[in-house]
């Protein structure tokens, strides 16, 4: 095996082995007790690894390791054409897949100087919000599950179906729509879809009310999350947190409102929710409000949908002119950006993906100091990360 590797690869391999070795030595010889959670652990939604040094049940210091699910998307993007990349990036945040496509397509359109027709932009915004609902509605159930309540998770899956069905009936894909195209969309909305979607949205609003009663109003839930894992606004900003984690710390910052990227948000009547406390509860509460807000936005988008074509004129074989573009959007998990460098080929020269979860979990070692073992779970669950979004 080593014979086929180059010297640089051998060095990298040896370094990786040594890093793993150091961690394992730490596990065995440190004073006190070191509790290893992950990469296989019921509470890490995948393969996140948290190594906590404990004093009794209290965390002295904690470290978070990621990369166990690294799929090399940035590198893979370099050897694919633009339509193929669209399929690939669907898998980054797999709960709200469509939202991954939008910033990439917008960046490519920006480089090509193509502008999608208004109807396509509205439908993009609509699906952006639908994927936000699909993602964050599951979060509420998952948070309750992490805190020991089994039933809300099933309710979350049950009501998320309504959104997934709507996405499926347009795109054909429940999880990975692959619906966005440079210059527009793959298809128009089918007949009767608008009415079905509005019915689904009222169902989702009922789900939010139910969850507010069942989970957020529960005294045990409140004692477990209020005052736990407080991230002050300054710390949140310095660690590069985004999304509900930042707004849960009282920072009023939302790229849907603050960045002008061509989506239809400026024509809607909606509100950015923030919460001043910065604890686990406020982060979760902001997400609940965002689901509610998103259902209202979908209703407005359905009502005000402009007529017209869904595809601008683009060449059959897409070649993006030379240049660089960076487009960043407010995805369900937070700020997501694509830095796209093109040399005029059918595929990009370099793609750098800025995902929200990677920055969001960087605060974990800071926020876990001094908490109890059960709080690790509450804090990790409230920070809400998707492993695909961390490891890419």
């Amino acid at each position: 095996m080593t014979g086929t590797l180059t010297e640089a690869q051998q060095l990298a391999y040896a370094n990786a082995q040594a890093a793993d070795g150091r961690v394992n030595v730490d596990l065995e010889t440190d004073e006190g007790m070191t509790l290893n959670m992950g990469p296989q652990h019921p509470a890490t939604h995948g393969t996140l690894r948290v190594i906590a040094k404990l004093d009794g049940e209290q965390v002295v210091s904690a470290d978070v390791m990621c990369g166990y699910m690294h799929r090399g998307y940035e590198k893979l993007c370099e050897v694919r054409s633009y339509p193929q990349i669209n399929t690939l990036v669907n898998r980054i945040d797999w709960l709200g897949s469509f939202a991954n496509e939008v910033p990439f397509i917008l960046a490519a359109e920006q480089l090509m100087g193509v502008e999608a027709p208004p109807r396509a932009m509205w439908i993009r915004t609509l699906f952006f919000e639908l994927s936000r609902i699909a993602n964050l509605s599951l979060f509420i159930g998952d948070l309750a599950l992490q805190l020991g309540a089994q039933t809300p998770a099933f309710y979350a899956f049950r009501d998320r179906e309504f959104v997934l069905n709507q996405i499926e009936s347009v795109t054909g894909g429940r999880f990975h729509p692959n619906f966005d195209r440079i210059g527009g969309l793959k298809d128009d909305l089918p007949k009767g879809w608008i009415a079905d979607t509005k019915a689904a949205m009222s169902r989702l609003r009922a789900y939010c009310d139910e969850m507010e009663d069942l989970v957020y109003g529960n005294e045990i839930f409140q004692t477990r999350t209020r005052g736990i894992g407080i991230i002050p606004a300054g710390v949140a900003q310095s660690y590069g947190l985004s999304g509900a984690n930042l707004r849960g710390s009282g920072v009023d910052w939302d790229l849907r409102r603050d960045a002008n990227i061509g989506l239809a948000y400026d024509q809607l009547d909606w509100k950015v929710w923030t919460h001043p406390d910065g604890d686990s509860f406020s982060r979760s509460w902001v997400r609940l409000q965002e689901v509610r807000e998103a259902t209202k936005m979908v209703d407005q988008l359905c009502d005000g949908m402009p007529a017209g074509p869904i595809m601008a004129k683009v060449p059959r074989i897409i070649k993006v002119p030379e240049g660089e573009a960076y487009v960043v959007t407010e995805n369900p998990l937070g700020q997501m950006g694509y830095y796209l460098v093109s040399k005029g080929d059918t595929g990009p020269f370099r793609v750098k993906i800025r995902t929200a979860s990677f920055n969001n979990i960087s605060v974990v070692p800071w926020v876990l100091r001094g908490v109890y073992v059960p709080d690790i779970i509450a804090i990790l669950a409230s920070l809400y990360f998707i492993l695909g979004d961390i490891d890419k």
């Binding site: 049940e57 599950l145 020991g148 089994q150 039933t151 099933f154 109890y372 779970i377």
Partner: protein
């Protein structure tokens, strides 16, 4: 029952079979009715439907599955203690049933200190759990075992104090006597349906149920087996038959505590308007008690499937700062009223 005289060995066989039935039947019933079906219906799904009509043979399938599994013992485990632990937990459950009355003559032993013995025996399971946590040689199991020990000891106290209220009102520690006292009791001079102590000891009933929930390590008190933090706590390293024993132990203990609660607060095997000495009660009594157990079990599992879990320190604070004070007040009030009326 005077017509039938059994020799000693016949009685022994009957009693052993009786204890087995009394443990396995409620355990299986609870698992099927509550864990499989009620939980599924609450969570908008059907639960097991394939094995047997309406999934009723699912239990057998599960037992078969566990028996086939490889019996894994961790390399550094203390093998002897590791093997012993599940039996200690299960033994405490079996012993609990020994003092339970199921009818006027249907009981294993009729001890004068029945409830006292039951409370004492129920705490043996702590030792088994602690052994399991220590012998597994796993950090998750150790944390789980220590949490369980702290929790079970803390909640033993409110449970005993809740029972004291009943004992004062009934004037006896004998479980059969407590059933009689409820059947023939009067509520402020009205004796139509007897006096099931749930009416006068409502506070005690809720303290007892809460403590039961904690003793069973069920949500919201399932910190020792919190699967999202410490995998499954002290059961983490167990598989196959030994896991099955823990599992049976958990649900059989739920059945046993439900039986105690039904006897103490819901009138036990007795039914209003039916004479206590009626021979039919030896047959109907166990069924009546089982029905009441299912009622209590419904409450226990309803809470289990609804609530999130407490943190360890919050859980201890809840026992020491809330449950124990109100059960002490309950005892005081019961004493005053007992003397006054």
């Amino acid at each position: 029952m005077t017509a039938v005289e059994l020799s000693y060995w016949q009685q022994t066989v009957f009693r052993v079979l009786g204890v087995l039935v009394a443990v396995i039947l409620p355990a299986g019933g609870f698992v099927y009715v509550f864990l499989f079906k009620m939980m599924s219906f609450m969570q908008s799904r059907l639960g097991p439907m394939e094995a047997g009509p309406y999934g009723s043979m699912q239990l057998l399938a599960e037992v078969g599955k566990f028996l086939q599994k490889e019996d894994i013992v961790p390399e550094k485990a203390d093998r002897r203690l590791f093997f012993l632990a599940p039996y200690i937990v299960l033994a405490s459950t079996f012993l609990l049933l020994v003092v339970m009355p199921f009818g006027p003559d249907a009981y294993f032993t009729n001890l004068d200190t029945g409830i006292f013995l039951a409370m004492g025996l129920s705490s043996i399971s702590v030792i088994g759990i602690l052994i399991a946590g220590w012998a597994s040689a796993s950090k998750y199991a150790l944390i789980g075992g220590l949490r369980a020990a702290g929790q079970l000891i803390a909640y033993e106290l409110p449970m005993v104090l809740a029972v004291v209220g009943v004992v004062i009102q009934a004037g006896t520690l004998n479980l059969q006597g407590i059933v009689t006292a409820q059947h023939s009791g009067e509520i402020f001079g009205f004796g139509g349906i007897g006096n099931p102590f749930i009416i006068t000891q409502l506070v005690g009933f809720f303290v007892f149920l809460t403590a039961t929930q904690a003793e069973l390590t069920q949500t919201p008190f399932d910190m020792p087996v919190a699967e999202s933090e410490i995998v499954t706590g002290y059961i983490t390293e167990y598989s196959g038959l030994r896991f099955l024993l823990f599992f049976i132990g958990e649900f059989a203990t739920a059945g046993a505590f439900a039986a105690i609660a039904a006897t103490l607060f819901l009138g036990g095997w007795a039914v209003p308007f039916v004479d206590l000495d009626d021979d039919i009660m030896n047959i109907a009594g166990p069924l009546v008690l089982f029905g009441k157990m299912m009622l209590v079990g419904f409450l226990i599992f309803w809470v289990r499937f609804t609530f999130p879990r407490f943190r360890e320190d919050q859980l201890q604070a809840f026992a020491w700062k809330f449950l124990i004070p109100i059960s002490l007040v309950n005892i005081l009030a019961t004493m005053v009223l007992k003397v006054a009326f």
